[in-house]
Symmetry: D2
Subunit: 419 residues, 4 copies
């Protein structure tokens, strides 16, 4: 790939991070609303640190960081790189300011431009995979920026508004169909020329029993029936650990739902709004997705089932590029009988697969080996991307993962069952 193309892609991804931050005021960039979230200015700096650490320092002889402490402050979790700032303290750092952070980005961009422009073909061949990883890394953080901002604003009694509300034309949601798939050996995982994360490798055979997937996502209206039938008070639907969380945290609905004297409201990036019963249920934990499925007489899919099914439909949907940043109701017109809808975009779909290495998986050597492999424990795999994921970042083999109690991502439910 020629250096101009690489540079264009670099600039496009970098620009999108800043576009996400456009509606923010300086105060909004600073706060870490919970240990799992990070301040927006930390995301902006950390993604720059990534290029600095893995491209500029090794490949640009004269490069030095603008501040000796940035390496300490903006290393997320790479033990191999050195000491780092304690994660839960990311919100205690008023400096570097937002302006300083943008200056840091500009500094890195300037050096990256130089690096890419001046590199010969041989060097470019070395840089290209690192740069591509850096860009996908930044796209992952773009999604986290959106969800972390939503969490911050949701936590504020003033309910700030991030973007104007855009109502979609209402149309009845089509009935749920079951789309069946046959028993047999399937090849799962990435193969081919383009980019994938190491955790999608190697492509390998799995034996699937006959199964069916729900033709579309579970809607808010359907999930509300689970609530109204007493689902959050009945231990029989829940994993033991999930039931403990329901009781200790007092969960009674998905995150962002608010029962305003009998009228269900939902906090969105466009502010507090009446709950859209036709939109996909969102901000549910694995525990809730699993409990809902059991209550509905179904189950969640395994990630292999999901992946094998996903190749039957085109990779398109409601992604970050639309700028909507909220799941959208499926209109009858968009659904096709006997076909899967909403497989990509809208909400990440919880699978029942715990996050484990594929047969033959080996994490790469060095610091980048810490990217994925060390998190393969006590997490569940999610598939398909969300309204905060970039379309250019998605693949049918993409494995996202979160602990089973995480709710602040755009996460939802597709039902599955044995045939």
């Amino acid at each position: 790939m020629p250096s101009e193309t690489l540079l264009d892609r670099y600039k496009a991804v970098r620009a999108f991070s800043e576009k996400i931050c456009e509606p923010l005021l300086p105060e909004d960039f600073v706060i870490q609303s919970m240990p799992d979230a990070s301040p927006a200015k930390w995301h902006l700096a950390h993604t720059s640190w990534f290029y600095e650490t893995f491209l500029l320092k090794p490949h640009q002889a004269e490069y030095h960081s603008p501040h000796p402490q940035y390496d300490f402050l903006f290393n997320s979790y790479y033990n191999t790189i050195g000491e780092r700032h304690c994660r839960p303290k990311r919100g205690l750092i008023s400096r570097p300011t937002v302006e300083d952070t943008y200056a840091y980005r500009a500094y890195v961009d300037e050096h990256m431009t130089l690096l890419l422009t001046e590199a010969d073909g041989e060097t470019l061949a070395v840089l290209e995979p690192l740069l591509t990883l850096g860009l996908h890394h930044e796209q992952q953080h773009q999604e986290l920026m959106v969800t972390d901002i939503k969490h911050l604003f949701f936590d504020n009694p003033l309910c700030p508004v991030y973007l104007p509300r855009r109502d979609l034309p209402a149309a009845p949601v089509p009935a749920l169909e079951w789309i069946g798939f046959d028993e047999g050996i399937q090849e799962i995982g990435w193969a081919g020329e383009g980019f994938s994360f190491d955790n999608e490798l190697p492509r390998h055979k799995e034996y699937l029993q006959p199964y069916a997937l729900g033709s579309r996502l579970v809607t808010n209206g359907e999930y509300l029936k689970f609530i109204e039938s007493g689902g959050y008070a009945q231990p029989e639907w829940w994993l033991s650990e999930g039931w403990n969380v329901v009781q200790s945290a007092g969960w009674a609905a998905p995150l962002c739902w608010w029962d305003r004297k009998g009228e269900w409201m939902e906090f969105t990036l466009a502010g507090m709004a009446p709950l859209d019963l036709d939109a996909p249920a969102c901000h549910v934990s694995y525990f809730e997705a699993d409990a809902y499925a059991r209550w509905a007489g179904a189950r969640l899919a395994t990630e292999a089932e999901w992946e094998a099914a996903s190749v039957t439909v085109p990779l398109c949907g409601n992604f970050a590029e639309s700028g909507r940043f909220h799941p959208a109701a499926l209109s009858s017109g968009d659904a096709k009988a006997g076909k899967l809808s909403q497989m990509f975009g809208d909400v990440w779909e919880w699978t029942r697969s715990q996050y484990t290495p594929y047969p033959g998986y080996a994490s790469p050597p060095g610091a980048l080996g810490e990217y994925n492999g060390k998190f393969m424990c006590n997490q569940f795999v999610l598939r398909g991307g969300s309204c905060a994921t970039s379309h250019s970042h998605m693949r049918s083999t993409y494995r996202n993962f979160f602990p089973p109690d995480a709710r602040w991502q755009f996460t939802g439910i597709r039902l599955a069952k044995d045939r």
Copy 2:
């Protein structure tokens, strides 16, 4: 099965629980040394409560419990049955005393004897699966009694002794061989007439890539090399969550190991003793097993790999029936070239498989549906049984499970690798 045989099996299992408690003094029965453990008298009562709840109350019209609060105190985790005593408070209950608890057992035994003796064939057919489940349930608690007592005694600066020490004749441990297995579809899970737990069902096909297992368990001597090479101070071997535990809990060796001024000692049920370098490494968490395997250039097996391999060797080994309650070194004489050794007994072998439902799994209706299914989250599967497991309780399809930081069970390491 005729009632006499059932009754004989019942009596045999019940007697073994009490045999395990023979070395205990009344004070030893009372304490809960950590939230995961339970007092011995609680185990004795809870296993009796199980028969009371699932056999006597439904099938013996006139039966009533000796105390109205026993149902509250001795229900472990069955939400469907009703309210129950908070698990971490099991050690705050001096009454019922040990004597009261044995009286409760005798009372339940008397009524069970009557129930089994008087039942007609039709009733026996109903009782037999419940009774068999109750017996396997009690055998599971027998293993927990042994490990909970060991944990209690280990926590006491006086290092109490549970049983006399029995030294085995020393013999050189054979070198580790790699035993290879071919790629292909394997049937995994229980099928047949005898008993299994629901989580071993249904038998189903899995596709395995070519793999090899270590011919024997990792020894204390081998594990010590990992320690001496700095393994507990090097994040590169560890899962992220494991590394957090190592640092926050200050782990520097397996549980029960003690560095007495440069000489490694090990706490056993026969008291504190010099570490036996030839015996299988024991009391390691999943995190440690996984880190050791990575350091050794290998990995842990999946449970399917383990199960497929296990059928090549007979189900025998160092089990609870021996009364040794400690893993034993493999003598060269017992090992056969090209064959797996120590697959059963000695220590539970951590697999890299997180505990998930088999394809087509459905938990049974009612309270017994809470037995296994609701724990399928954030646990890892262990295989093969230990020196505290009864041989009569073991199967090659048996799935034990614990969270990845658990160390107080007899848990150890068998290496695996891709071929």
Copy 3:
């Protein structure tokens, strides 16, 4: 004091500790029901360790402890003596058993008898103050044994009974009078020949404003009116820190009270019983005593006010020697108009004085200097002794102290006000 008299006093105090334990079964001796409490067998051993450490080891050349670890296990809080077992782990130690503990006591008694019998006059003069301190120390632990056993039994859903119930003849409680005291300089603190703790020294002058004390203790019936008027839901009566505890711990009544479907019950050492409205309110924290007083338009006394008033009445009341171990209602016959009643025994009376050193106070050198002085922080002073205090242990200058949220002691309320 001749050695026989000392020995007699020693034997009497030692015997009373064992008398308190007579109703206990071995299981009851083992448990630590909360971090503030200790197992009965720990109290039995620790009080013996005290003589061992401060009398036998320094003054009996050949003395050695029966076990090298007892010094570690039974040192309560003397940093100067050496390392010690972590306090919250006292309930995790099944050995030494109860029998071993009594053997330890007998061993110490035997050596103490020898020491006292063989000592010459000069040695006795050295031993006497240490022995007297040891005896008062053991009497303090006797009170803790009673309250720790009560807490343990209260925590058990089976509500064990420690002693048979003894009902007292009912008689109307006399109306509360205000007994006035004049302004002026008062001498406070111990002076004279007998024993006192160091914290009662030196006797010194304080200037008191005119004040009045309630003629008797606040009764359960009076306290119940505070509850029924909504006192636990109204922040205006509470200290800020107390209100936090009320809300986080869900306090709605004194410890040991139980609202059985509208009928108030009280857990006593004689089991669960209907609340005696005429008996002194008991098991209240400082926060509750202070809130009640504010609600009642009064306040608590300072310790100087209490002490100055207490010398007007004889030192007698409902003490441990009666074996009742429960506060008793004041009968009209026992109260004298214009006189203070119930100043001693029944319940410790919370004062509004935080526990600080008297002017000129100096803690003694060495380990015994750790006895009192280092606790002079964040505690409130209580006066007068309780039904679990020995009469022979009490003085009008005696300063007991507990943190303001402690409730498991026999603690109650006497009102005071400015004149």
Copy 4:
């Protein structure tokens, strides 16, 4: 007092709050660096809320708050006023922004100006005490703003600088003298016409034993000797609770001290600087002040001793008006033989007096009764003001109070002893 004078005083105090914030960037206003601290913009808003709540709403008929949620967000601890935002979440609120907050201040100022300008004499007489309280309240928050900013900047690895460094001319510190005071009755507490807080009332008699105070504050150099002699590793100097904190929090020096490879540095609002050995020791907890005094063979003064002594010297010193915001070394020239120095300003002086009500104290009715009285528990009294206290806010009877482990205020040590 005429309305112009009141208004002038109002404007002066309001202006000083904003002057303190002048060096801050928007990001600095947002963060709560620990639960005890508050964001600067919260202080700015809360002090405005105070006038709104206690002056504008009751006395300006048409007044309404600019936002219905401000009452919820900016009520600090007045239960009587209504529900309020949870204190530890003050740093999770990016909106209202800094600009919004200043607009809120301007809005309140405008209405306050109107209120004071238009009020007749009778109304002014009612408003004056409320306004005066509001001004002193704001001055208290001004000090907290300074210390909270310092804590925030100290927590940042970049060590931001709040103000330029101003070095003072060095001069040898005079030797410590003991200034003696006689035994007898002293009148303590406020009396007279001006303002005092309710906790300084009523003036009353106390009897003091003969005592002496150190002529000046303990210096960094003196405190360093305590550190170098092993003071933080020797339990004998410490209160029991203090020793627990030393061990669990790993304290080894005052807050803001930093041992840079053997060279002691100190974080100041002018950045990191070499430790000034002659300046008063600062940022010590009560535990450290008390331990230092014991190590030095002295003790801390009672608040009555301090107050009785303080009237012998004029109320002047290093206060907030100087804008230095750091304690200053005493130059020999400023000290007078036989006289107390540094009694006011520089650092708050820990006394050994726990914070209790004076005899005859009664908190006022209504919400303002929550100002002081409900905090009289588990706090120690400090006297004399600091470099962050306004001189116009100080009195010799002023009682400040903090829990014994608090260190982020400008708190220091003056020794006392019995004569």
